[in-house]
Amino acid sequence: MIPLEHYVLVSAGLFILGIAGVILRRNALIIYMSLEMILNASNLAMVAFSRYHGNLDGQIFVFFTIAVAAAEVAVGLAIIAALFRVKQTVRVSDLSALKL
């Protein structure tokens, strides 16, 4: 039997990797991938707590998180593609102006 702490530890590790990716990388697409990793880390924590507390509400919540993540990725990638059409780059350091 695996203790609950190990699942939470793995979830925290993936969360930290995602945060580091968001801060470190300059490519907007890779920042988006890191955001997906952060969402997945929270999903893992919720499923683990749901299993160890014998309560299925956590799994329902993860289901909603996945649906919201799908919507978010679609809109975010459309925004990145629209920005690329105007500025010809996906580097966030070149996208620092509010005015196009």
Partner: protein
């Protein structure tokens, strides 16, 4: 057996997560991220969340990553810029990562998590999730469908601009 699978899945997941954020080529990053999602689905199976494991593979590793790859190919952004070290970003991420490691370590070390594993029959669990989803959580379920519709309309509006320009 379960222990070995857990340590294999989580170790491989963290390794490929590291590869995702350090890989130069965005296509390689996307492929490593697919592996991260697959190993996450394996962890879901170990936690007896079979429905979520299937959804994880279908939605994340299938739909979302195909969308990512499609956009990467569309933008032709596969060639990453030359590796110029931005020290401010490195220092900032080191500080944030250090703080997070300290915080998570402190919480995990001082907290007393209840680790008594309740036994639930694995067969009926997907059915139980479905019953819960369509009874107590019916309204959030419907709202999510509206959210997906709104996202779809938003993407069409954002993506359909180029004909005018």
């Amino acid at each position: 057996m379960e222990n070995a699978l857990f340590y294999f899945f989580s170790g491989a997941m963290l390794f490929f997560g590291l590869m995702t954020i350090t890989s130069r080529n965005p296509v390689n990053s996307a492929m490593f991220l697919v592996l991260v999602f697959f190993f996450m689905a394996g962890l879901f199976v170990l936690l007896h969340a079979f429905f979520l494991a299937a959804v994880q593979v279908l939605v994340y590793a299938g739909a979302i990553m195909v969308l990512f790859l499609f956009v990467i190919m569309l933008l032709n952004a596969a060639d990453e810029e030359k590796r110029r070290r931005h020290w401010l970003g490195v220092i900032a991420s080191a500080v944030v990562v250090g703080l997070l490691v300290f915080e998570f370590g402190f919480v995990l070390w001082s907290g007393n998590l209840d680790t008594v594993l309740p036994s639930l029959d694995a067969v009926g669990q997907t059915e139980a999730v479905g019953r819960l989803l369509f009874s107590s959580y019916l309204l959030p379920f419907e709202i999510v469908s509206v959210l997906l519709l709104a996202a779809m309309i938003g993407v069409i509006i954002l993506g359909g601009k180029e004909k005018k320009a």
